[in-house]
Symmetry: C2
Subunit: 256 residues, 2 copies
């Protein structure tokens, strides 16, 4: 049922932390007891939390103090029950009959996403896209700052973009160490992506955002997220194609 209202959050002190989680097929004999790791926030929820955070920030700016799950869900484009469940994962407390305190929710979500400290980002590849990313405002907001730009092209070294000087990719190890880089953004051509990725991993970077149209192979423990423009378009194309012909088995409209 409900959790005991007395006291604050008191989740089971879920046992030990990160044991080696091998996602390899055919778990030979790992007795990695799946202890209901109840602290885990589902991946899908994490993505939405970021959306809620954005909406909440806007509400806060507008001076809104309280918001119901229904309102927030509508603004975020999700089902309200889904939103409540998402929030329940981070142990958030709303007030029944009232809603959620905007400020409290912002703080909680920021805490969950680790946005209280500012992570340093290194951007590798300042070509067409990388150049834009370096100056993209949305990047520097809340919790991140681009700390370094690198490129393999000698012609680009030394160029200044958004207040940063482009350094040779060979200096990546130094850059990561000196600037405490936590996230690597790959905006190189596809053929260079895997190599750069390995370089990042060797330097100890375990979070990578990949804009190159290539599948990256990484060891366990490294998180890669990819943004693939061509694929997004192709998915839209698929649906577009579907709209043209109503397929419905029967009723064949002779569409000129």
């Amino acid at each position: 049922m409900e959790e005991p209202a007395t006291g604050g959050v008191r989740r089971a002190r879920a046992a030990i932390g990160r044991a080696v989680r091998s996602t390899l097929p055919g778990r030979v004999e790992s007795r990695v007891e799946p202890r209901r790791d109840d602290r885990a926030v589902p991946e899908a929820s994490v993505a939405r939390l970021a959306v809620y955070l954005r909406v909440l920030s806007q509400l806060a700016e507008q001076g809104v103090v309280t918001v119901s799950s229904e309102e927030l869900a509508a603004a975020a484009g999700v089902n309200s029950a889904n939103l409540r469940k998402d929030l329940s994962h981070i142990g958030s407390y709303g007030t029944r009959g009232v809603g959620y305190d905007v400020a409290v929710l912002v703080e909680r979500i920021e805490g969950t996403l680790g946005l209280t400290r500012r992570l340093a980002v290194a951007l590798i590849g300042v070509g067409n896209l990388g150049h834009a990313l370096a100056g993209y405002g949305g990047f520097t907001t809340r919790g991140f700052h681009i700390a370094a730009l690198l490129d393999a092209d000698p012609a680009r070294i030394g160029e200044e973009i958004a207040g940063l000087v482009v350094r040779p990719v060979a200096e990546l190890p130094d850059v990561v160490r000196e600037l405490d880089i936590a996230i690597g953004v790959i905006a190189t051509p596809a053929h260079a992506a895997q190599e750069v990725c390995e370089l990042l991993v060797d330097c100890g970077v375990t979070s990578i955002l990949n804009f190159a149209p290539a599948v990256l192979a990484v060891p366990d423990g490294v998180d890669v997220r990819k943004v693939d423009l061509a694929i997004e378009l192709q998915i839209l194309s698929f649906h577009e194609q579907r709209k043209l012909r109503p397929i419905s088995g029967t009723a064949l409209e002779e569409v000129g």
Copy 2:
């Protein structure tokens, strides 16, 4: 406003079909083709098909004629059973004991994704990011071509980018009609996104790729996919935070 739209693809769940109670999508072996509604390819599969296509194209260039599900899956970074199931959705035929013919597979996937014709894309917002997208090679490859650039800023009108002249966003209706725009790409600031989106929809564009950090509300029947850089970073941040502290409570100073 009213009907919120989520990120990802928001598909009109047309209430057309009668309650298809087919609990068993069991393969009907009759050649009579009942209600072939099961032609639907799962959304998740569509995204992967695009990835397979890229890998297959590379293989084809290398002169590879045949590939097994195991090899292709490894190159695409997925489970081989998953890949085979994906392919089974598009009715692909491999050869048992041998594998798949690369050329045939490329053709089939392109057909499924509707990449045989070239869809015209209109890009609205040629600021930092839009500018880069206009010149981004990955965009124009295979099946798409940016046919028009538009912006609301008078200062940008007339500027030439990648061989195209920037036109005022007010001309969108004409542009869509004249150039037969199928996909709209929104690369405006967040505050303008919803307005531009509605303009696109009014013009009859039903496929939208949104780069603005805003939740778009669209009517049923319109597909929206979003690419949100800040959210990608925040997801990585979440996992990064996870790596640092072993699980346990959300906040160290938690209440009592």
